[in-house]
Symmetry: C2
Subunit: 413 residues, 2 copies
């Protein structure tokens, strides 16, 4: 055997139960305390036997109580995790000592209600600065523990229960075969505002049936996040609760070793990246009140770090985002933002392309093509390539436009 | 004489002619090529005799042709500047070699039309990436040269001619008396979008009748800019054309020397700062489609630089700005943004006040006061104070909310 196995993406993923050996449930606990008994807002994800897990978390100084707790649990028990308990509708962030006690309570109550002796990881997402309604949380966990299932209905309910302002759930599943055995990586995620991940992002949960140590899972997950969730931006606001978790239950009977040259390693890392990349793109595509998804490629910088600075300056510029919203191929605003990234931009070296159509070549506007740019910028999805022609550094950012509806949507919670 | 003279701010400034020894004119040249013959868009500011001048400019790598030219002129001839020629409606930015030739042509044509042998500084503001309509510029300069005046009508026309998306002109004048002589510092400025100055800002023009060397003027101007224009933000987009210019014609007969302990120095520096601060506040107050002006005070950081990071993260956060627009006292979004500034925020040390009303004390929400915060955030102008309680570093940023109308306004040029 000498070629890396082909990783296949499922055309119609059904959620985490695409991976054997996990049971899930998603129920309505009225965490928002609005009296809505139909909105799913609490989820349990449980491995058939406790197993290794890894996590990547927000870099925000104000990291939420569940993030703090996950870090502690993974430091002490990463090889033996029972599962994950998640609520939406309340972030349990900036909630002080009580917040940490509440997160711990979620974890221990999930243990007692499922009868599993190993710890549960905990995630929350929603409004910052409000105490969790613990009566509802406890009742919800009891309910969810009784409904655990490996069926596709439960799987979709979990994918729905973690959502906040998202308009649809986000699932991705990748598979490959090796030694006659099939390996699956299944993932779900939620967006859709406060999205400017840095080394981690919003909530995403991945499960796999490969056998692997937690440290190795973490390396692979971190690399995949850097190339997927960390390359997207909707509104430039990095959240307090960003968490990506991966659990590996070993049900496939295939063991991952830590040689990066190993074919299993390559295929598995590729499958994790594919799932993360698909989820990341689904998050951007469902960004709050967006009308356009823009793939921004920055090339020709002195370093990849410089290219990232340019991409974030351009991709987060209000004037750039609003011009995209208005179908205005206003390359001057892109050049301005690239200039204030302060990476040594030279006006007479800058190329800008909309899809394949050149708008600026070595600083000279291609005004005869203006109808073409206009038509590209009017599409719901397009690519902008900016080449500074200074070096080989490059970066790719998936970003969005900014609509009046975003402002309206966020003017109150 | 042992106390610094009191600096007085004129209640009804009339523009640059508040300072003796300058003539000005503002005319309509149809720079936007829309056929509008009434919109003022070209201005001349001329010292009765050529005099020292200083400038502070954008740090954007993509600095516009007139900014490049001003730097060259000030390096070579700062002690002997004839005046300033300004157009609005076209930024002459990202216009390549032709742009620099056009800026030079503006400068030399202003010389020939006024018959003055010293160089003119040049400023432009408006859309990026379009060539200047030089026929109209030349005709406009001829017209303006014939209309130079020290009257208040011309003074207001100049203040109007430099505007773009501003809804009103912005003038500020400060005066003090020393040795029986009166010193005046008069200034005008324009905003109102692409405002995230860094060491310089948009366009502002100051004139004074003190006698001073250019190098000394520059020191004082730079200090004043750091404490005024550089502490404001509307949309986080630093412009290609930010320029603040100061001309000193010496008509008062009072000479500035370079001892910072000198009373004249103190009073003059204070007067320049007052004018800059007033203009900066007027720019924020006239930000594109804003409904609220927010004074954001960040205190208790390990350094002033850290406090500035926090202030800019919070003041530029879309989620913070939209919540202010919606009268939503959503302190969680402020805390989140302070957290991603990554200056070591500790959740249980953070205080947040709306005006004098505490919302968060050492991380604990003061929920009994929520009606009060709501009422503060509903006002058109309020102060938010965030104390991280880590050290003595502080920063003050004047910022704004973000409205749906901003998005609508900027979706096309």
């Amino acid at each position: 055997m000498s070629t890396t196995p082909t990783v296949e993406i499922l055309a119609t993923p059904t959620g985490l139960v695409d991976c054997p050996g996990f049971k899930v449930s998603g129920i309505a606990a009225d965490i928002r305390e609005t009296g809505d008994r139909n909105r799913l807002d609490l989820a349990l994800i449980v491995a058939d036997t406790p197993c290794p897990a890894a996590g990547v978390f927000t870099l925000n100084d104000l990291c939420a109580a569940p993030v703090q707790l996950c870090k502690i649990i993974l430091e002490n028990s990463a090889e033996c995790i029972a599962g994950i308990v998640v609520n939406s509708g309340n972030a349990n962030a900036a909630t002080g000592e009580q917040g940490l006690l509440d997160a711990k309570q979620m974890s221990t109550f999930a243990q007692s209600q499922t009868g599993i002796g190993s710890p549960f990881l905990v995630c929350s997402t929603g409004r910052i600065g409000r105490k969790l309604p613990m009566m509802r949380i406890d009742a919800g966990i009891s309910d969810a523990a009784q409904k655990l299932s490996s069926g596709t209905t439960a799987s979709q309910q979990v994918a729905d229960a973690i959502l906040t302002s998202d308009t649809r759930n986000k699932c991705a599943t990748a598979q490959f075969e090796i030694e006659g055995k099939k390996i699956t990586v299944a993932g779900i995620a939620k967006g859709a505002g406060m999205i400017e991940p840095n080394m981690a992002t919003m909530l995403a949960f991945l499960v796999t049936d490969i056998q692997a140590e937690a440290a190795l899972l973490k390396t692979i997950l971190k690399n995949a996040c850097d190339q997927s969730f960390n390359c997207i931006s909707i509104d430039g606001d990095m959240s307090t609760n960003d968490s990506v978790l991966l659990m590996a239950n070993g049900h496939s009977g295939v063991t991952l070793n830590n040689s990066t040259e190993n074919l299993i390693y390559k295929a598995f890392a590729s499958a994790v990246l594919e799932v993360c990349a698909q989820l990341a793109e689904k998050i951007v595509g469902d960004g709050e009140k967006i009308t356009k998804l823009v793939e921004l490629k920055v090339e020709g910088c002195l370093s990849n770090a410089d290219a990232e600075k340019v991409a974030r300056a351009v991709g987060n510029s209000l004037l750039v985002k609003t011009s995209w919203y208005g179908n205005d191929p206003n390359w001057g605003r892109l050049a301005d933002a690239a200039g204030y990234a302060r990476v040594g931009l030279k006006a007479d070296s800058l190329d800008i392309r909309y899809n394949d159509c050149p708008a600026l070549v070595k600083g000279v506007p291609q005004d005869d093509k203006i109808q073409e740019w206009q038509s590209v910028v009017s599409e719901p999805r397009f690519t902008v390539t900016m080449n500074l022609n200074l070096g080989a550094g490059h970066y790719r950012l998936l970003t969005t436009d900014l609509s009046e509806a975003y402002v309206d949507f966020n003017k109150s919670e």
